[in-house]
Symmetry: C2
Subunit: 449 residues, 2 copies
Amino acid sequence: MAPIAITPSGSGASTPTAAQASTLTQAGIKHHTHDNDSLAPLDASKMTITLNPNPRDVPAMNSPEVMAQKTCTDHMVTAAWNEQTGWAAPELKPYGPFSIMPSASVLHYATECFEGLKLYRGHDDRLRLFRVNRNCERMRRSCERIALPDFDAKELEKMIIALCARDGPKWLPKERKGGFLYIRPTMISTDPALGVQRPKEALLYVIIALFPDMSKSLATPAAPPALKGDATEEVKQEKKGTSGLKLLASTEDTIRAWPGGFGYAKLGANYGPSLVAQGEARARGFDQVLWLFGQEASVTEAGASNFFVVWRNKETQKVELITAPLGERIILEGVTRASILELARTRLTEGKVQGSQLESVEVVERKFTMADVIEAYEEGRLLEAFAAGTAFFVAPVGLIHYKNKDIEVPMGAEGESGDYAKVLKGWLGGIMYGKETHEWGVVVDEVEA
Amino acid sequence: MAPIAITPSGSGASTPTAAQASTLTQAGIKHHTHDNDSLAPLDASKMTITLNPNPRDVPAMNSPEVMAQKTCTDHMVTAAWNEQTGWAAPELKPYGPFSIMPSASVLHYATECFEGLKLYRGHDDRLRLFRVNRNCERMRRSCERIALPDFDAKELEKMIIALCARDGPKWLPKERKGGFLYIRPTMISTDPALGVQRPKEALLYVIIALFPDMSKSLATPAAPPALKGDATEEVKQEKKGTSGLKLLASTEDTIRAWPGGFGYAKLGANYGPSLVAQGEARARGFDQVLWLFGQEASVTEAGASNFFVVWRNKETQKVELITAPLGERIILEGVTRASILELARTRLTEGKVQGSQLESVEVVERKFTMADVIEAYEEGRLLEAFAAGTAFFVAPVGLIHYKNKDIEVPMGAEGESGDYAKVLKGWLGGIMYGKETHEWGVVVDEVEA
């Protein structure tokens, strides 16, 4: 809409002058930056340590407790913030419940954000984090969007590393080579004031959970539908269960994120509202929702992961690796997403294909729609699709259900993964688990018990 | 987009048959309805009562503590739910902190929703709620949207009434005729499982807070900008401070809600993400954000309230009371909104104008845009605007700032309120405070101490 000239009406009510309007408009918004000199910054060097007097046994990885994703390690790190004094000294202390007022902002206004990353036990026996600085920087952007306080990303990184160094040796022992723990940095507003306003109190904390390996379990439907009919169908159903993620495309009455919203940030507000659609998808035998946006049904994310397609370009017939762009800010800027794009550009583009028999690819970040995917499928140009994120790593997609039709995505010669997903996953895993020395793998020096 | 026929590709990968796809698609989604016979329903008649052994003194209404909106009454009501057993017996017990696991769903995924209503001390000395059944029914719709458990609205109403009956006599004594307490029913997921999934545990609770009367305080800017320049300007600035709400229209890069989202539900996820824009508006001297939507800048809500305009229709020159419609589900179905529409239709439309010298109005729920508002303003047809909601009641709007221009909304002959806002507010207040006997006013029988 073009700017519209507004002239004073003859209403007779008291009205401000243009000079006043200008004063209102130009008044600064500085006082919320929280980085002024009188406030204490987040400082990991001040961390106090209180060890858990009752450390618990590590449950078996296939135990119901671990499968339920409720088990955390012996310790956590917390740091309290308030508007008057800034950040208190971080505390490494026994994992356990918080005391929180029923009126706390986080319980009413979703003033919360988080990160997800993993601690890996390498095949060389060392513990590693993967590009942890990216998670810490993204957490700052999430905090900014949800009106939570800022901090130096390097200090959060130190807090994460201190916790991993302490609990890693016991909870991810050298016998679990190729295993991982899940790390969850979180910030919540503990402000007990019930008014809808910027939080004046917050708590930053880091916990570590035992998760089953979902990059494998995800290939099995979360809630397999009851089977009826003959044995042949049952066999086929089981086969289906082993051939990649099954995605249910979202409908226009449920959208995950929108321009001007907050889809790019890791806010709680992006996750809770997706649970109904996700629950319906699972009850129908799908693994995740494929989130579409707009009249044109552009493809955005799969579940809480980024989504990639490999297809041949209609005109050039060249292989393209495509994923949705970040420009509209409706898509999470995934660390795995960025790493896949960087690896593909470095190792899979023309003249750079390394260590495989694969054709080179063009790496493309742009909008693409379900119509594009369907056309590629119908013309035999659709080669692969996969979800990519920390929790599910690189997960090949075998089926997309959209408007009562199934798009059956090729799953490679052995029916387990397309070749590009496989090689990218291999490279990433190699860095995470120390088979390849790379700056993205951050070694954690372990504290001896 | 028209349905598109999908045919199997010749990719050679294992692909499911049409029969299998049908099995997937038709599998039921029944197991999440939670209302099966084996689960205990929410039942207020089972409520246990534990009185607070250390009741506190009621602070003065103008004390900093009350102004900070941190004070709750002596008791709260809670009811726990889990997927296996359903609802536990509600407990009326001393107000105090919860113990909650750091991994609780509500702290990560915003699995939370709430209601807001008030307890009124009538001029006839009686305590009343206003249309409490509507809040309880709306809470069910919010819970459904955020994957929290369902319950019988009547049982929540009984829990609210029990708490008001207990704490009302002391915290809203007969000396505070015309005063109110703020009631906050809330549901959160306490599920400690960190996986992104439908919550298996939840807590419903009701607390009562002491709030200052924001329908008055709102007329004063929350953060008045520092004044410079001559005394004349200062006087005008002060005058401006007493002439209604000042709204800053949102820009395209900050959108509160979207079709297919959850703007209609009272989810935490609608509030936290609005705080940055609200904070910027306040820092610039405005009271609230006027939330616009879409290329056409249609007018939706003001802050966390519904928004009404009174203008003369361009063609007919008849007076219209207009507010945005609920159809796209981007607007909260406010109890105050519904009540204003009902009162206006009953008492202000042609042939029904009661108890005032006002012209009759046409009551209209339809989309309207900033261009419409501006045109009415420029042509002298804009008569009034007001925000309406429980927290701020009926709050006349004096100024809308949009694209560097000010729209100065008439504020009535005395500069305090337009006539329609005034009469509607009077009728509503009359029902709330017992000047008028009406079915919307629900009398609470007080428990003698």
